[in-house]
Symmetry: C2
Subunit: 332 residues, 2 copies
């Protein structure tokens, strides 16, 4: 195959077929995809979860991950927090003419490896090519289907007075990693994205038997946006800021750049609102799983007026608001 992607690779003819056969099929190979029909035919069940996300991250390759790993995790995580078991993914690419075929192969490998780790299959896809300067390398939209198996039911987003809110892993790592990579700033150690599939974290939490009222992966808008959305139902959420896990290096970079870790994107963090009585068993189950060893209770839910408050290190309270305006563009 040619070393660069051309407009002709988007034409639907012989070159399109060559790209599919030489790049996509070897990477994603499975019997459903190999049918190459206009649609994939999948085994489902009475109810499914269905989600989509576009990925325009800049840069495409960043410490800890790349757009390929990101686009799989983003969709897997949206399915997992709904309570479904993630099963099938579609991958739709928009590629700028001139993009190196070798980079495309790397991204496909990353997609395949992450899908394998998360236990999902790439079953259908599409690729369009646009002229130079009409994109920025590559944009990817992944959609996903999850199945509610016998032991799983759809989970609402209804946090309840008396719940505790558990955060599964250190926050802000993805937002900081991409921002630093894009800026060319020099920090040591280089901050790494937390991008990872949350399906195992969700399995660990739900298998513990804890009463879980809501789960979310706080991506764009960060922990602040998720908590503000949850509070809209007429409860107050009070965050004990010293309990929010943040890696030391990430925390320092946020201080230098004037960024609030609560507003930054995460790609491997689960927030769960859990009945207080089940807090201990939820924490124990999470801390025994590789991707949530530093799980912690970060907030409590009380009756109130839909406000989110943070208690600072020195015991004062500050209001936490829904982020407004541009925090960091093209972070995912």
């Amino acid at each position: 195959m040619q070393e660069k992607i051309t407009l002709a690779h988007g034409s639907g003819g012989e070159l399109y077929r060559e790209m599919v056969n030489e790049v996509f099929l070897p990477a994603y190979s499975n019997e459903i995809l190999c049918e190459l029909g206009d649609s994939a035919v999948c085994t489902a069940g009475e109810r499914i979860a269905f989600t989509t996300d576009g990925f325009v991250v800049n840069p495409i390759f960043f410490p800890g991950g790349d757009i390929g790993r990101l686009c799989v995790c983003g969709t897997v995580n949206d399915l997992a927090v709904s309570g479904a078991v993630p099963q099938y993914l579609s991958v739709s690419m928009i590629i700028e003419a001139g993009f190196e075929t070798e980079k495309l192969r790397c991204i496909c490998k990353s997609i395949a490896d992450t899908a394998s780790e998360a236990g999902v299959r790439i079953v259908t896809g599409d690729t369009k090519v646009v002229e130079g300067n009409k994109a920025d390398g590559i944009y990817i939209t992944t959609s996903g289907v999850g199945v509610f198996t016998a032991d799983r039911k759809p989970l609402g987003q209804k946090v309840v007075q008396g719940d505790v809110i558990i955060c599964s892993a250190p926050v802000a790592s993805h937002g900081v990693a991409v921002t630093v990579a894009r800026s060319g700033m020099d920090f040591s150690p280089v901050p790494c994205s937390d991008v990872k599939p949350l399906s195992g974290v969700v399995d660990a939490l739900l298998s513990s038997g804890a009463e879980v009222h809501a789960m979310r992966d706080p991506t764009r808008g960060g922990v602040a946006a998720t908590l503000c959305e949850w509070a809209r139902d007429g409860v107050d959420i009070t965050v004990d800021l010293k309990n929010v896990p943040v890696e030391a290096s990430v925390s320092e970079i946020c201080a230098v750049l004037g960024l609030d870790p609560l507003q930054l994107a995460n790609e491997g963090v689960l927030l769960a609102s859990v009945a207080k009585k089940d807090c201990a068993k939820a924490l124990e189950a999470l801390r025994n799983y590789q991707y949530s060893t530093s799980a912690a209770v970060i907030a409590e839910v009380e009756s109130g007026n839909s406000e989110v408050w943070g208690i600072t290190d020195i015991g004062t309270k500050r209001r936490i608001l829904m982020p407004r305006g541009e925090v960091l563009p093209r972070i995912c």
Copy 2:
């Protein structure tokens, strides 16, 4: 809401929410979407069809349609030709900063109207914003889920010796309409795209009881690409070129521009490979449906060597090949 989309509208914070509430929800409103979870929870069944397509058409608005109608039809049609009943759609947008909010509203209305016509619901979505000159107005990726109801089963793509190939409507209209609109050439009458949902056409054909061995909507690569793919299974397909329906004005423009109507994209044409014995009832059913009144038998399937041939007006034969290279970029 502001008159232009800004990077901040892609941030996941308050402005993102405003855009969702003021533009997307009023357009698409349905109870599944309004849950606004990370995933939509949908009723499915034992087997589903799942598909995705990216749309980068230029221009965004063209005679006969726009990117909104196109992105719904493209996905609905991929589901319909698999034999499934199209049900749920996701809409993921990548918008260039500076895009007019009013245009976005028009596109959403078009999406909503077309979804309503096709009997599908927009149940989940995502929007990203990139800097100026990193896209071309708007790109949309739609994914879809179709359900195999009791009377429907997945249809293979196995054309059989002795089949006839039926074409449901005039070909090449979409390809010609977009090409002329983009070029600024002046033709009268202005050629219009055929973009339409094929779910009703498929219903009409399957309800006729005809034995259907394969269906496809020949988009990029046109009728030629679909026939060449079908022939790969070891049959020859012979097209009677005078029977291929093409609107007179489209045919003339193709002659002027040196384009082959068989290689141009369609967005409202069904190709079906049907057992010859059932040809009459299939044609009758199709001709009684509004979107396939000019359905015609265009080809026959014989034993052979995976070749596609065309019989010209003057009785000579020419080989029809899989289109190679760039026919017309960004046609869908």
